[in-house]
Symmetry: C3
Subunit: 346 residues, 3 copies
Amino acid sequence: MKFTAKQIAEMAGGVVEGNENAEVWKLCKIEEGEPGGLSFLANPKYTNYIYDTHSSVVLVRSDFEAEHPVAATLVRVGDPYLAFAGLLKAYNELQLNKQGIDAQAYITPSATLGEKCYVGAFAFIGENVKIGNNVKIYPQVYVGDNCVIGDNTTLFAGVRVYCNNVIGSRCILHAGAVIGADGFGFAPTADGSYQKIDQIGNVVIEDDVEIGANTCVDRATMGSTVLHKGVKLDNLCQIAHNVVVGQNTAMASQSGIAGSGKVGQNCIIAGQVGIVGHIEVGDRVIIGAQSGVTHSMPSDITIVGSPAMDATKQRKNLVLARNLDKLEKRVRQLERQLEEQSKKEE
Amino acid sequence: MKFTAKQIAEMAGGVVEGNENAEVWKLCKIEEGEPGGLSFLANPKYTNYIYDTHSSVVLVRSDFEAEHPVAATLVRVGDPYLAFAGLLKAYNELQLNKQGIDAQAYITPSATLGEKCYVGAFAFIGENVKIGNNVKIYPQVYVGDNCVIGDNTTLFAGVRVYCNNVIGSRCILHAGAVIGADGFGFAPTADGSYQKIDQIGNVVIEDDVEIGANTCVDRATMGSTVLHKGVKLDNLCQIAHNVVVGQNTAMASQSGIAGSGKVGQNCIIAGQVGIVGHIEVGDRVIIGAQSGVTHSMPSDITIVGSPAMDATKQRKNLVLARNLDKLEKRVRQLERQLEEQSKKEE
Amino acid sequence: MKFTAKQIAEMAGGVVEGNENAEVWKLCKIEEGEPGGLSFLANPKYTNYIYDTHSSVVLVRSDFEAEHPVAATLVRVGDPYLAFAGLLKAYNELQLNKQGIDAQAYITPSATLGEKCYVGAFAFIGENVKIGNNVKIYPQVYVGDNCVIGDNTTLFAGVRVYCNNVIGSRCILHAGAVIGADGFGFAPTADGSYQKIDQIGNVVIEDDVEIGANTCVDRATMGSTVLHKGVKLDNLCQIAHNVVVGQNTAMASQSGIAGSGKVGQNCIIAGQVGIVGHIEVGDRVIIGAQSGVTHSMPSDITIVGSPAMDATKQRKNLVLARNLDKLEKRVRQLERQLEEQSKKEE
């Protein structure tokens, strides 16, 4: 896909200065400009790069004044960064704008689809599934019986949604995510083996949720595992059965919440964090990477460590722990002094 | 799927009291009852809820005596909890009771299938695969050449089984699980690059094993990686090449066992645990969350921490570690006292 | 697949001693030999096993002299271990030597494929994809638009490659690996919700890279996430957006590198390690299991712990930490001594 400087200016509501037929087909940082590249200059610190950049077109502020000749075609706009971000979004939408139902998709007759949907080859849509408008179901996605998917949601290749789950609008589920597998529930028996506890609840994912590649959200034993509006999960996360995650909470890669855990809204959970089951974490809690949260936590705190505790206290402890050899030396020194004293006294 | 109180009573071997045509189509906790819901009352502590519940049908003990009027239809049974669990299981089996070979499944002519199997659309069954009776292969599952799968086993959507692996009877493999990928084996060469060591062993999964979503069990370099009877693995676990996991051992999410590790039977491994390669963990060992097991462990102990050690000792250490600042203060105090003493002596 | 001792000798360039029609169809360790098994004897410590082994054929050194009668057929070769490894590799190649384009693969007309490729059933190859010679695309693989894949690369069942990514030659991607999902990038807004930052970069995987099952490599926000030549990633690893991993660096299972992290060449990263974003790790760094790397690290060091630090210092600290109760006891003892002194003085 190629665009001329003129087309860029029209899309961005700007004015061309230079060759309006200059073509671009990729996005570059201004300091790494290449022929065919589109860049932007927003931060004055980068101004020097504009005189040397190999980018073909550069978005600049309306009031930009060049102090040397500029080879690139300029497009003058109100806010170059915003204009660039807008173009970037438009470009991505264009690129991902698949439509139509592939002949090799499997859609049961009882399923219903809204308008302007995409269903790729080898996708499977089960009985009584209800899919909204403008939903994109990539190839090899599995949507089990009785699921409901809201408008403008995208399921990338190979997402698996077990039966009876609910996904909101404007959600994005990345490749390999698994929604609604059985919670890990077993009752020990007298002979040491386990009796499976049937998991008949479901998963409810509200609007504007994004779920990373190969992340797993288990169905509830009964009732629902819930991701509230605006939750963002990174890749390879684990959300166990009956967990509830509050609005706008974000969780980085390889973190997990065990069964029946509750996390409040607007929390930030770094990577490789573990939260044990049946506890409650408040709102706006920040949890450092690799922390292990072992008991309930109030709102508005920052915690780190395993077991996790208040970050200020923990960091002090960590400094001490990292220098335990020095503390031990001080104790040894004290012991020696006391011994010498007692010798003197003898 | 709707059931009447009368049908419920027949299935549960109970007696209806109230409207035998009352319909239910979902399961509810008695305290969260909704119209159309089926609940049970087993624990006397919850008795009060029966007078207010909105559930349409409630399973109660044969000898239950209402002290106030009850709106719900009652079904009297010997043990309400067991009856409910039985109905729940029946309901789930009904729901998951897929059968038949989809026309869009790919089954090689040399593969053999038992009776009453389900093979969904876009599933792939390789050469010489042997599949037992009543096996359920969901859409988009991959079963490589020469695999053997026992009776009554279920492979949910998108499970991948590489060639030459063996899976027992009554196993459940959840979506995205990968069985038999190459072990991580490389020999360093003189120039710093790695030479791949071909992995020609396989994976043997015995009966009654459950494997979570996106969990990986690697094939052995030679011989077999083995999950013994009744092993339960949660989501996103890693079982490396040549590992052996003993009977009825359960492992929670995001835990891993490195190459050639051996874990005994009836162990309980919590979430995000790592067990290094080439060590042996005994039977009935309990391993706390986020532990790192760095050397072999005897049977019948509980270990926590990274590196993992006896839980009692470790917990004492953890309390001290969490209060290292206090210990440091005591040392500082001692230093001050001694300094004062020595000043006095001067 | 069966081979006679004679065929084995021809493949391995050796000489048969005994029944040249003895058949083998599996590989066994000499101490676990079974009828139909092929074994080798390289280490003199194992010589005794050759007199009892049930293996049908054993590779031995040209100058091997039996002190007792041997039931197995011998094949005399220069180096039995190398010969065995060669046979093992040949066997594996034979086994994995799929070819041809399945009628049920979906290949867009604009995609191009080299010679001798395999594309399995239900695989999806998008627009303008360029695939080299002898590439193996297993069933249910997804390759998005505009991807490029080099010669002799294998994508096992269910690998997902988003659009615009580049994969080199002789790479192996295991089942369920996801290449090019969106980086985890969101800008917080005034109301506490997140605005998605479109991820329009890609992933570049150089030659000879191996990627484990269900591992995720995210696309760059802009530019490229890069795995340099010879990188080896185990299962369930996470490589975030804009990460760069140097040549021949190996990373064990369940480890992760956060956004924009840089790791040098020939590093060895053990399992369950986390490396935070925007830091730089030097060359030939060895990182112990479960370490948390929180700041940049120079080349040629070994680090362990969370937060990770020099291994020698850390191990000393760990020993002290594991015996904190003893240190506390010493402090208590000192306190008591001083108290007694002060009592005496009174």
